[in-house]
Amino acid sequence: MSESSKIPFNNPGWAGNTGEFDLTEAQVRGDDYVGKRPPEGGHPSGASSYPYMLADKHPDAPLFEGPYKERWEKLRTRYPNARSALLPTLGMAQELRGHLSPETLDQVAKLLDLPPAYVRGVATFYTMYNKRPVGRFLIQVCTNISCNLCGGEDVLQAFLNNTGTELGETSEDGNFTVIEAECLAGCGFPTTVQINSRYYENVTPKDVPGILERLKAQGE
């Protein structure tokens, strides 16, 4: 790994893969600046924005206990009424459980005193709420116009081939779900791939096996 690639956020854009993929999660987030945070978080203003990881999945975890409850209460103070806190609440529930099952949605509805059907209606409108369980790593490959022009579909195919899955299906070991994403706002650095919370830019098909190896190693 070169010296410059150790610097977080050192993304050289068009210059191709210069070791960015070798950075750790902490380096990409810039933990030196963002800091290590307790799960209940700091100031209420940003309570809906972290933790960033969706990887820890406990489908049976209780809905908002302990630090999560504190965080949720902070978050709730930032919105004028219960309904407007619905999206961040759903986001937190998904953080804990990995996906929003009908039971989870009912629990959220109860918590916010909203009709269950209404909560379900909202949750199904937004694509980022997983209504079904997904793999430990949710791989979203952008195939919209800018990435498509630069070979996004080949990258998607490479991910499918290397994980041995069909689009939207979870691999047998429960590690990977590969889906096609709409524009991820990384158009200048094609192909942009989002894996859980992290962006990988300038991904080419030949980078794919290496990325998957690293992810697998992370999980063990």
Binding site: P44, A85, T127, I145, L149
Partner: protein, 430 residues
């Protein structure tokens, strides 16, 4: 540390500190001249801040290009009800990648712009609607907000002025339509992000039915410069109708894609050939989408004299939108790319209005049929007819965004469609 893709022709008012990790911290940002505009705004008073922004001629950077100062002046002067300022960071127009860079490299610039705008519009609470996919970006931004709270820049008594400014980071959940201002407000209220009928406009009844202003990240980022240096200084760049600088997001088949901050009115061909290093080896220009996927495609001929200002791009036959320049060379398969764009809109249509919900789905099906070589020549007329009926018949402009690429491509690249229909022959590779 120089941001990797800079160019000598850039005028870096907003993007000067891109690539500099120090600039993300409060201390670093102050050392670089940050947080001078906000006290100045308190000194000037609400009216004068709005006048200064009006004088600068700053136009909304989210796509519509509506003058920001004028928008602020629509807010009621009397504060009998809560006012809200909403920052639109739901960047999801295909081809656009500027707001993410502004948020992750210069979060304090955005916070300062939001605080000034909140003060000017009489809002005590500002929300930033961040796109759900931007985990890292939101992290950086939320940390900056915490720093600003700790330093007393945000909170009950902003910088000792007695003005209350609260800021909340709100995270979306992946819906393109939430970038539309009324869709954004609905989503922020915990509803489905379906746009509302206007009027009433947000300044009368916006978030929670209260007077609200919605501005793009880049618009608000430009505000500190204007307040510090005055509207006239901002007008030194750009054209009389499109003052100032703009981040141009260049993507597609150029050698050096990226964000380049240039004065408005910059020639398109100079941007492609000089700033972005030209087309890839041995390739020639086929077409350009100058403002994100919602605007008409320009062919190579129309690009030649096109100037990148709001009025200049209209003259060339398209719109500047959010200045997302998507460059396509001669290897591009127009039929496929248009189908891909329409597929995006069909996926993102909120389903409220029939012309959009049914139209976008059917247009995609017809385009796929043509792409697979099963189309007929009448299909082209059908496409034009369907998309014509989609224009101006719906609550928001997503439906019009389907029509733009379809109609312009049939008009300008009819030969490619016909070749596909008659012989099944592909013109381009990608």
């Amino acid at each position: 540390m120089a941001y990797p893709y800079t160019h000598a022709k850039e005028v870096r008012l907003l993007s000067k500190h891109f690539g500099d990790p120090e600039a993300r911290t409060l201390q670093g940002w102050k050392a670089r001249g940050g947080y001078q505009a906000l006290p100045r705004a308190f000194e000037l008073g609400r009216e004068k801040v709005i006048d200064e922004v009006k004088a600068s001629g700053l136009r909304g950077r989210g796509g519509a290009g509506f003058p920001a100062g004028v928008k602020w002046s629509f807010m009621p002067k009397e504060r009998t009800r809560p006012h809200y300022l909403l920052c639109n960071a739901d960047e999801s127009e295909p081809g656009t990648f500027k707001d993410r860079e502004l948020l992750r490299w210069t979060p304090h610039q955005v916070i300062e712009g939001m605080a000034i705008a909140a003060y000017a519009t009489g809002a005590e609470h500002a929300y930033i609607y961040c796109r759900g996919e931007f985990f890292e970006t939101t992290q950086v931004f939320a940390r900056a907000v915490e720093e600003a709270y700790e330093a007393g820049i945000l909170g009950k008594d902003s910088m000792g002025s007695g003005v209350k400014i609260d800021l909340t980071v709100h995270v979306g959940a992946g819906a393109y339509i939430c970038g539309e201002e009324t869709g954004l407000m609905n989503s922020l209220e915990g509803r489905r992000g379906q746009p509302r009928v206007k009027p009433p406009f947000p300044a009368q009844a916006g978030y929670m039915g209260m007077p609200s202003t919605v501005n793009n990240v880049e618009t608000l980022s430009s505000v500190p410069f204007i307040v510090t240096n005055g509207g006239e200084a901002y007008r030194a760049y750009g054209t009389p109708d499109s003052p100032g600088t703009k981040l141009f997001c260049v993507s597609g088949h150029v050698r050096r894609p990226g964000n380049y901050e240039l004065p408005l009115g910059f020639p398109l061909m100079e941007l492609i050939d000089d700033v972005c290093g030209g087309m890839r080896e041995g390739r020639s220009l086929k077409g350009v989408i100058p403002g994100g996927s919602s605007v008409p495609i320009l062919n190579a001929e129309e690009c030649r004299d096109c100037l990148l200002s709001y009025e200049g791009v209209v003259k060339a036959g398209s719109q500047l939108g959010c200045a997302s320049v998507i460059v396509m060379d001669d290897s591009t398969d127009i039929v496929k790319q248009v189908r891909r764009m329409v597929g995006f809109y069909a996926h993102e249509s909120c389903g409220q209005c029939t012309p959009c919900r049914e139209g976008s789905a059917w247009v995609e099906k017809i385009l796929r049929r043509i792409e697979d070589g099963r189309g007929t020549e009448e299909d082209l007329d059908t496409l034009v007819e369907v998309t014509t009926q989609m224009e101006g018949t719906t609550i928001c402009v997503l439906s019009d965004s389907v029509a733009a690429p379809v109609k312009s491509s049939i008009n300008k690249f009819r030969g490619e469609y016909l070749a596909r229909i008659r012989t099944g022959e592909k013109v381009g590779a990608v």
